[in-house]
């Protein structure tokens, strides 16, 4: 019996991965096929991008500040408190900015996508849309994926900048460091590889969180309870995948650029 259930579990897993890949591929394949739902794209971009601004700015600022406090304490032990700027900008741009922004947007929008699409599934609105001749992958899923990728890219840049600013505020006003030294330090040490890593991550995270959100939404089963389950799973799975893919990207970048 356990062997048999192991067997069906494995099959279910494979089927889920297959469905997920098909959904992503078909949604993106629609990018170049008419009709193009421009209005839906703009609407989603507004919802995801503009809607996430406050939370991204606030978390970015305070994380930058926290980083400055933590690192200056450690650095001053070695008499290297002057390198606070470098540490903050490094961590923000390569790691914290992309990951935290993606996690925040995932909490806000992967859940939103799963619950919105899930409710449409259980109330047969998705079936109705198909019956009316519209491909929901084109009208609902594609705009969400594209606008998440684009918006997360810019939100991450913003978060990085605000984080460095937050670190700067802490360094100058609380730790009594020199502002120009901090800033000089912050950008002098950055290399192409660091920037590239920081900009590639949001593209991949945006894809992951939007496709996971849409996948769980479109595959909702079992009424309102199912919608709740889909929402939770979307956030959990997308968060885990964001962090796991972060690790893989870092490993690849080290292999590629040596840092």
């Amino acid at each position: 019996m356990p062997i048999a259930s192991l067997d069906t579990t494995a099959k279910k897993g494979v089927a889920a991965v297959q469905d997920y890949s098909l959904l992503s591929a078909r949604a993106l394949g629609n990018l170049f096929r008419r009709p193009f739902y421009y209005a839906d794209l703009v609407n989603q971009a507004d919802l995801i991008g503009v809607g996430s601004l406050p939370i991204v700015i606030l978390t970015g600022f305070f994380l930058g500040g926290a980083l400055a406090l933590q690192s200056s304490a450690t650095l001053s032990q070695f008499g290297a408190a002057a390198f606070t700027g470098q540490l903050v900008s490094f961590s923000m741009i390569k790691e914290i900015g992309p990951v935290i922004t993606a996690l925040m947007v995932s909490g806000r929008n992967a859940s939103g996508m799963a619950s919105e699409l899930g409710s449409m599934v259980v109330t047969e609105q998705i079936d109705a849309m198909r019956a009316l001749g519209t491909d929901p992958l084109k009208k609902l899923v594609m705009p969400r994926i594209v606008s998440t990728i684009v918006m997360l890219f810019f939100l991450t840049i913003l978060s990085d900048a605000v984080g460095i600013l937050g670190g700067g505020c802490v360094a100058v006003f609380m730790l009594g460091q020199d502002a120009s030294q901090y800033l000089h330090n912050a950008y002098q040490s950055l290399r192409f590889a660091d920037i590239a890593q920081g900009l590639i991550k949001p593209l991949i995270f945006g894809f992951v969180l939007s496709t996971i959100g849409c996948y769980y939404g479109m595959n909702t089963r079992g009424g309102t309870q199912g919608v709740g389950r889909a929402t939770t799973q979307a956030v959990v799975v997308s968060s885990v995948l964001i962090i796991a893919s972060d690790f893989i990207i870092i490993r690849l970048m080290i292999g590629l650029f040596g840092r």
Partner: protein, 279 residues
């Protein structure tokens, strides 16, 4: 010629002029190992209205979704206007569905769109000018006597009104085939009669082929025994207790089609299940 090219050339109902509106050939489907429909075969000829009866949970809604290509059968073939929907690509199905109107059991209106945008959904998709959409939506809503609800959201309507909006959405593009899933389910007798009148109007005025699911036998018999009078714009009984020859019955019971025939044969049937169902 591929299916896509054929559909691009002319309306889907003209590609195979001799094919019936719907044809099921030995269709079976099950969910999670449990069989729901077994070996179902029947036809809906053009211009015909077929009423599908059966107890709750027997698979009537599943059958309508199969006819629309929303789900695929486990075995068997399904043809709509000669196109094999059970083997078509999703993109081609979207094109074929241009000539099919569907009324879902719970209406399935888009709850974030107004009544106008719901009813005019297809027209918006086809980039019809806004003024024309409003005009045609108002006309379709007048057909279901709801033209005053244009700017309301579905949540602001009653169940019967939602059902009528769903009908307006299905008929606005004058489809050649209508699939109604329990259009009168859970409604009071007066609203039900209004809806049945709409269905009869669609049948007698526009000669649309239709497959209609219902739980209410009295509605089914009203449809059979009445016709639509264009002069008075109302439904009236057929003279001399006649039955409409273009309206006939299908009965599902325990996964199978247990009856396929005219009203007369249905009433005269000596199948014990049908006798009990009708009593």
């Amino acid at each position: 010629m591929t299916v896509a090219e054929m559909l691009a050339e002319k309306p889907a109902n003209e590609v195979y002029p001799d094919a019936p509106a719907i044809r099921f050939e030995n269709v079976s489907i099950g969910f999670d190992g449990k069989s729901v429909l077994e070996d179902i075969s029947f036809e809906v000829k053009r211009g015909e209205t077929r009423i599908l009866l059966g107890p709750a949970g027997v698979g009537k809604s599943v059958l309508l979704k199969l006819a629309n290509g929303l789900i695929k059968p486990d075995s068997g073939k399904i043809f709509v206007f000669g196109f094999e929907v059970s083997a078509m690509r999703e993109q081609d199905l979207y094109k074929l569905r241009d000539i099919i109107g569907t009324v879902f059991q719970e209406g399935a209106l888009f709850d974030s769109l107004t009544v106008r945008d719901n009813v005019g959904y297809r027209l918006t998709d086809e980039h019809v000018p806004e003024a024309e959409i409003t005009e045609r939506v108002t006309e379709a809503l007048r057909f279901v006597e709801l033209e005053h609800t244009l700017d309301k959201l579905p949540s602001q309507l009653s169940g019967g009104m939602r059902r009528r909006v769903a009908i307006a959405r299905a008929i606005i593009t004058k489809p050649s085939l209508l699939l109604y899933d329990s259009p009168t389910g859970g409604l009071d007798p007066i609203t039900s009669t209004t809806i049945i009148e709409l269905v009869v109007k669609q049948r007698d005025v526009y000669k649309t082929s239709a497959l209609l699911v219902t739980h209410r036998l009295q509605d089914a018999f009203t449809m059979v025994s009445h016709q639509f009078n264009k002069e008075t714009n109302s439904m009236e009984p057929l003279p001399d207790h006649q039955n409409d020859p273009k309206t006939s019955f299908l009965v599902l019971h325990q996964c199978r089609l247990v009856f396929d025939g005219s009203t007369h044969d249905l009433v005269a049937s000596d199948d014990p299940f049908i006798k009990e169902y009708l009593s």
